[in-house]
């Protein structure tokens, strides 16, 4: 029974006393006011959905499913296809996941299981501060620090040694998919780490002790018991990170190169869905151009909503019911 129910029962007995009538009305008003505000959140999400659909209608009607498969983006001829942007968003997010997931797992494990006790707090705060740095500041850092570093130090040796693979072919220009992926990885690592950390903290102590008592090392305990125990929540954290990477705008816009092309190379410039909106929205002159940009936002919205629903369901499952707990 929740606090409110319990208290309403208590108050029911008091209602008849002097002043009880106004108190009752006050409570009714209070309940309805807060309920109204809670409903506003539902309304907000529905309204976003509705408005974005309505505004993308011209583009939806004119281009249909071809919008998703066409690579042409020509505001002058008023022909629009979103495939290059979808490709850029998906590719940069995947690079980010490949880099960020192992890193987040290691960091979270370190913070929860391995770090000396005095280090856990400060290191945890430092990782959380990573998430506090605004996207645009990462973008600035990306333009002037990361991109030159990739251009001069990372990409040339990769091209020399692995250049026979299409993935590592092309000139080292710094801006491009790799830069976007790296910067996204930096931005989602604290998010994924935070979720995994919470998940690992919910793993009961007796699970670790049971494995240790069998003569397992700390690493074996983590690998065989702790991480498997939290796998659903960990997956939720990874998917949540993916959602953030897909929708991230500024830092990507500043380093991805902003060229609507589909190339296999990590070093090639590309364009992302969020970036094209940020760059072209206020300069779009024709109604259909605007509508096409809104349709890109609609796709982004639907995909991130689905991904977030999936992630939250996985994370909620962990935080609510501990799987496999003995029922008593």
């Amino acid at each position: 029974m929740e606090a409110g129910d319990r208290l309403r029962t208590v108050r029911g007995g008091v209602r008849q006393t002097a002043g009880g009538r106004t108190a009752y009305l006050g409570d009714q008003f209070f309940l309805w006011l807060t309920r109204f505000l809670a409903l506003a959140i539902l309304a907000l999400l529905s309204l976003i959905f509705y408005e974005v659909i309505v505004a993308s209608k011209p583009s939806l009607q004119r281009f249909g499913f071809g919008f998703l498969t066409s690579t042409e983006w020509d505001p002058v001829a008023e022909r629009f296809g979103a495939l290059p942007f979808i490709f850029g968003t998906v590719a940069s997010s995947l690079i980010a996941l490949i880099l960020a997931v192992p890193l987040s797992l290691a960091v979270a494990t370190f913070l929860v299981e391995l770090a000396p006790w005095w280090l856990r707090g400060p290191a945890g705060v430092a990782v959380e501060l990573l998430a506090a740095i605004p996207s645009v500041v990462y973008g600035l850092w990306g333009i002037f620090v990361l991109v030159p570093f990739l251009r001069s130090t990372v990409e040339p040796p990769l091209i020399r040694s692995l250049g026979f693979l299409p993935l590592f072919r092309g000139p080292a220009i710094g801006v491009g998919l790799l830069a976007a992926g790296v910067i996204l990885a930096i931005m989602i690592t604290p998010i994924i780490t935070a979720v995994i950390r919470e998940v690992l903290l919910t793993v009961p102590r007796h699970q670790r002790e049971a494995m240790l008592a069998l003569g397992a090392t700390r690493w074996e305990t983590i690998r065989l018991v702790v991480l498997p125990y939290g796998r659903a929540g960990i997956l939720g954290g990874v998917i949540l990170g993916l959602g953030r990477a897909l929708g991230e705008t500024m830092a990507v816009t500043m380093v991805i190169g902003n060229r609507p092309e589909i190339a296999l190379s990590l070093f090639a410039p590309a364009y992302s869905m969020a970036s094209v909106i940020a760059n072209e929205f206020t300069e779009a002159t024709s109604a259909i151009h605007l509508s096409a940009l809104v349709e890109i936002a609609l796709i982004l919205f639907l995909v991130t909503i689905l991904i977030n629903i999936l992630a939250r369901l996985l994370i909620w499952r962990v935080s609510r019911a501990v799987p496999g707990a003995v029922r008593e």
Binding site: A210, L212, A213, L214, G215, P228, Y229, V326
Partner: protein, 270 residues
């Protein structure tokens, strides 16, 4: 404290001067948690091949005591241990001793059944073997042997590869016993192994203890004096982190030497 050691000479040591496998000696064991002292210098010999019960009111430190015997107390932040615990004459707290090796030889069963939920019944029993690199055939043999020893084989032999969480509480606890037995430890510590179980499951586990005592040194913490009387060869009474009395179970329950023991077993406190 001297009376304790004098009154309970482990018979084997006296006879042969050779350590019997699985014999434990505790010397001046002190433990604290978060600055609060829990064990205040405990000295006792735990005989091999027998059941030793540890009784006492809740909060007396009996749980901490067994957790010190396989170096599990120290994994909790803020926990400290000093003193010596000798397994066959070797101090498990000596510098350079790897707790992994200690725990490999001194197994433990916990208060609540804690099977690994992501593993099958078979994998649970084999968990300790897997990290030690046992091959498939030896593992399969050990799994069956320990499940039989834990009197669980007949109940689970047809569903070895189903999740361990599908078992009842009592079955889960016997699974945990099988898991601990599988690595063939010499000592088995049990921290109130039946406190979360129903009477029927409790009975099964008590029968198991009596059977197992031939092969292992068993240390059983219990808050239940009848249980101690039923299963233990020797019983230790802990109060406030001190060992008040330790002797043959029948003696301790019928002719306690210490007034506090008498008060406790007659139910005057605790």
């Amino acid at each position: 404290m001297e009376t304790v050691t004098r009154s309970t000479p482990p018979p084997v040591l006296e006879r042969s001067e050779v350590f019997l496998i699985g014999s434990l000696r505790v010397e001046g064991l002190e433990a604290s948690y978060g600055g609060r002292q829990i064990l205040k210098g405990i000295t006792m010999d735990i005989p091999a091949g027998a059941v030793t019960a540890v009784i006492g009111p809740s909060g007396c430190g009996k749980s901490t005591f067994v957790r010190c015997l396989n170096r599990l107390h120290e994994v909790v932040p803020g926990a400290r241990v000093s003193g010596r615990v000798l397994l066959e004459g070797q101090d498990i707290y000596a510098p350079g001793v790897d707790p992994v090796v200690v725990r490999r030889r001194i197994g433990m069963v916990f208060q609540r059944p804690n099977p690994f939920p992501t593993m099958t019944i078979y994998q649970n029993v084999a968990a300790g073997l897997r990290v030690n690199g046992w091959d498939r055939r030896r593992t399969a043999e050990a799994v069956e042997r320990s499940l039989r020893m834990a009197a669980l084989w007949d109940e689970v032999k047809d569903r070895l590869h189903q999740p361990a969480t599908g078992l009842s509480g009592g079955q889960q606890q016997r699974l945990c016993i099988a898991r601990a037995l599988a690595v063939e430890p010499d000592v088995l510590l049990m921290d109130e192994p039946t406190s979360a179980l129903d009477p029927v499951s409790t009975l099964k586990i008590e029968e198991l203890l009596i059977e197992l005592r031939q092969r292992f040194t068993l240390v059983v913490v219990t808050h239940n004096m009848q249980q101690a009387a039923r299963v233990a060869d020797r019983t230790a009474f802990l109060l406030d982190g001190e060992l008040v009395e330790f002797g043959p179970t029948a003696e301790l329950f019928t002719m306690p030497r210490d007034r506090r023991t008498e008060d406790y077993i007659t139910g005057r406190f605790g």
